[in-house]
Chain length 595, copies 2
């Protein structure tokens, strides 16, 4: 019953008008041919695949879930395999991959667009190719030549898929205490023994083989996180000619029953002497895995953008159709029994909250994706360094800010439907359930906030943050003189100066008491997230103002959304700043046994 | 796997120390015998029933849901009927009911405690007796002598249950457009025709008969809400001797599949010439139904308090047991592989948020329940009037503030569990799913906020609000002189004066533009909710300060929670006030077709 229309115009607005990606790509040798038309064609086709192939399976996947059979094999919901076959036939797994392994060599930015639309359509399904792409990136960056030749072409074509196997029953956040063991064998391979849990796409019937990237300890490993190595462990052994051999003693022990993403197989994976090969250096597995985890964190942000967009679209349809009560300022549809609920201010608040979070998230995520393309491809080393710093700074914000906002947004979307929102057939409650996991996996949002404040801001004395601050400052200097931009520039300047002040304050307090970092981190991340959004909404408002006279109502809507953001959402920072400044005292005062 | 211990000490603290209920009851002739020991005995037994009988069925109910058979009959989950039989055998339905009909004649306050514990144990199950009690209250207030003699004893004993049938496919909030028809018959009864949806406990196998209280239109009914009448429609016809006769053409057409409260039968009810009798006066059905709806709104608040408490308890257990990472200020459990996560500031923030919301909700709900007892039983008319005004003012706040907070709190509880929180077997995600409906039914939280700001505050020029303000003022005057109370009194005085100012401002703006009420209502309700909590936490802190020297750590914990509330939660009002003051402009600017 829900619907999904790929928001092509909004996507193109960000790519062409906000980011001017064509110009940016002209400076990157690898992407000089990626022009506007090419991009638009891919965006449209991605949207078509998402809405026509992946979307119709979303409610089916939620209802059916996955099935584990006695032999440990897993069957995905009806239609998932056919859709995956179409995905492979369309060459989508290869979109942004290295041409050396059969990839299309297109920018990360376009892959990001693809993932927005896929996640709007079907988050659970999208996690199968999504994790696979992460495994590709990890092996591409850290694999041995042999591993690359065995795996990369298969992952790029989509014939095989990949997973990341980190979590164990006793550890998720704290990988330092993981127990899975890797014993070296005489032929240079390793025997892997242990149990991994919460393995998304851990087993399924979509592809011929699955390569598990598994964190484990070598016999001589130091304790803690410095003794973790990474291994590539295929589901089926691979013969020397690359063909598939027998079972490799890695099986799905059970499937988790969970709140949402039912269509994805969340597996307990048992490794019982499975044979794997070492990826990267011994004991440095976390470094290698971080390539995949950073990609995954951006990926989780795209999941949340996708859900925000689709929830918004459906609640708008409902709000225009559902007749209930009269407008407080007099009947707006006097010929009908009641007015459509979109006349009511609080319904509009709910719709605009979703809309602003979708537009902000899209601008933020695409901008970051373009910086990743720049980081990896720009001829100038200092540009590469600067963009790399920015991406490092922004990654935890994308993960946590977008996923928190998406949970708010999908809940607002559901609330617009009243009682119908709680009923499964309307589809809205599934978006809430699916969105909920995004705040947890790939590092909980608390972990993201500690990564941001502890490591990325205080860890380099604010250097990376100042690079972002410089961008904001330049924009303020440039636009602050234009009268019609003041309504945006003034609050942007205000929040920018407050972030600067708060950062110093927390930094000072943290030197005296480390708990202050933990106490301030979560509100701090949201505050910086709002600074990023305020910057991007101000930039988008500028474009809308310039084009307002064109008569295209698209720009009027962009301006109205930006104004709503500044009036109603940005002021959350007034609370967050007080919360962060209140520090650790009230958190740490109560003895643990009194809880 | 989850656990539930009735929080007896916390309940008793509110009843005896905060409210001094024994003294309050000594002024109410009906309850003069209700002493501390009686109350404690009932509290303990209620807790025992909830934790030992209702709680073990909570996950079963979620997993199994209800089943509708071909004849329209509904079977509840395994164990639900046995538990209901025990509930009836224990006399629990009768607790606060009129002795004239077999009730125990005990205060509403004790029934409120019962419902807190039942809802912690099993919200879906509790809705069967809960709606029944609402039907009892409605018929007790508005039923004809004949209806009372037929129904009340059966509802009080629990042999029969009741429902409320308001919503129809085309209307929920807007009852003015409901279509169900009531045709008068020659014998003085009515033939009811129509379809009702979202009928909680609409059909089931727990009781011998069900009385549906149904809103419908008489043939000569004026349009809109002034043409709605209320009817009592039994599932089975009732013979003149009170025995049960044949089917009454009211059947469950289908069960809804929904996000949570799976154990409760949410029915589409078809009335195909069902015979009913008129409750109250023709066309004044909404007045009669409001008795039930107000009770239900407080009941929904209790659902949310219950879920907040049980989610808190479970996340505390997990946070003490789960070992993950070291404290930022150095290892706290050096003998273990990692520290229990309760050492981390942000885990404590999540726990304390739940705890503060549980303590605040309990104080608020019990205080209101005691005012209802006073309103209904005090010999002095002016006291009855004052408490009635307060209850009227506070009811929408209990419904909306407690349910929004419970959704936050259950989500924080789930987040403490990390990935395990998302897995069904741990029980935490069910609390989130169950809590979500509370923000929607019995009038969405937007409707509550409009009721508060539009009808109850601006509608009487702030008279009721000033009665509450006077209480706060008196407390500030009394306690403001004590130095150790300043940390609580100062912020309380601050938020009280801000509420006063904001109310005037919104009132002025509303005179120029009605949309301002709709734009401000949702943040306004939360702001007043925080004022209530600030007042109650200050009062609780006072008691804790007085008793601190007793050496009982219970008071230390109360004080720590109050301090946390003032430091970390109350400052949300800084955002909410800005949001409310930002008004309607940014909400109404966008033309509907641009959404």
């Amino acid at each position: 019953m829900p619907k999904y229309d790929p928001p092509l115009r909004d996507i193109q607005f960000v790519i062409h008008e906000l980011l001017n990606a064509e110009k940016a790509f002209s400076e990157l040798p690898a992407y000089q041919d990626v022009d506007k038309d090419t991009m638009n064609q891919i965006i449209e086709e991605a949207g078509r695949f998402a809405s026509e192939v992946a979307f119709p399976l979303n409610q089916i996947g939620d209802k059916e879930g996955c099935t584990r059979h006695e032999d440990g094999s897993v069957t995905t919901p009806t239609g998932f395999k056919t859709a995956y076959d179409q995905y492979v036939a369309g060459g989508w797994p290869a979109l942004s991959c290295d041409p050396e392994y059969g990839g299309q060599g297109l920018p990360q930015l376009l892959n990001t667009v693809l993932y927005e639309t896929l996640n709007s359509a079907n988050q659970a399904w999208t996690m199968y190719p999504g994790l696979s792409h992460g495994a590709y990136e990890c092996l591409h960056a850290h694999g041995t030549p042999e591993q690359k030749s065995i795996y990369l072409e298969k992952l790029v074509s989509g014939k095989w898929t990949g997973t990341m196997c980190l979590t164990e029953p006793q550890c998720g956040t704290d990988l330092g205490i993981l127990k899975t063991k890797a014993e070296p064998l005489s032929d240079g391979t390793y025997s892997i023994n242990g149990t991994k849990i919460f393995i998304s796409s851990g087993d399924h019937d979509l592809a011929e083989n699955i390569v598990h990237l598994v964190l484990a300890r070598l016999p001589d490993a130091p304790k803690g996180t410095k003794g973790i190595s990474l291994f590539a462990v295929p589901k089926y052994a691979i013969n020397t000619d690359g063909s598939i051999g027998g079972n490799n003693k890695v099986t799905c022990g059970s499937l988790e029953h969970k709140m949402g993403i039912h269509g994805n197989a969340t597996c307990v994976m048992n490794f019982d002497g499975a044979i794997g090969t070492l990826v990267g250096e011994p004991h440095k597995g976390l470094n290698a895995m971080f390539v995949m985890m950073n990609a995954a964190r951006l990926g989780v942000g795209m999941q949340s953008l996708g859900l925000t967009e689709v929830a918004y679209q459906n609640s708008v349809v409902y709000a225009k159709e559902r007749l209930q009560m009269r407008s407080l300022s007099g009947a707006k549809a006097p010929d009908k029994v009641a007015d459509p609920i979109i006349v009511h201010p609080d319904v509009r608040r709910m719709l605009l909250t979703q809309r602003a979070y979708a537009e902000g998230a899209r601008a933020f995520a695409y901008w970051t994706a373009l910086m990743i393309d720049t980081e990896l491809n720009h001829p100038d080393e200092s540009v590469r360094k600067d963009t790399a710093d920015m991406v490092t700074l922004l990654t935890p914000i994308i993960k946590a800010f977008l996923t928190d906002n998406a949970f708010t947004a999908t809940n607002e979307g559901m609330q617009v439907f009243g009682g119908h929102g709680y009923i499964t057939e309307w589809g809205m409650e599934q978006y809430v359930r699916d969105a909920r996991i995004n705040m947890i996996y790939e590092g909980t949002n608390t972990i993201q906030s500690l990564d941001l404040l502890g490591r990325k801001v205080l860890g380099d004395m604010g250097a990376k943050l100042r690079k972002f601050g410089k961008l904001v400052e330049n924009f303020i200097d440039e636009e602050g003189v234009r009268k019609e931009m003041q309504e945006f520039v003034d609050p942007l300047a205000d929040i920018a100066s407050k972030v600067e002040k708060l950062t110093k304050e927390v930094g000072m307090k943290a030197m005296m008491n480390h708990e202050e970092v933990g106490a301030a981190a979560v509100p701090y991340l949201r505050i910086v997230g709002h600074l990023v959004y305020a910057y991007l909404f101000a930039r988008m408002a500028k474009i809308a103002l310039v084009n307002k006279t064109s008569g295209d109502p698209f720009y009027e809507a962009k301006l109205a959304t930006a104004r709503f953001y500044f009036a109603k959402l940005l002021p959350e920072t007034a609370y967050l700043i007080r919360n962060a400044r209140a520090g650790s005292k009230s958190l740490m005062a109560m003895p643990a046994d009194l809880f």
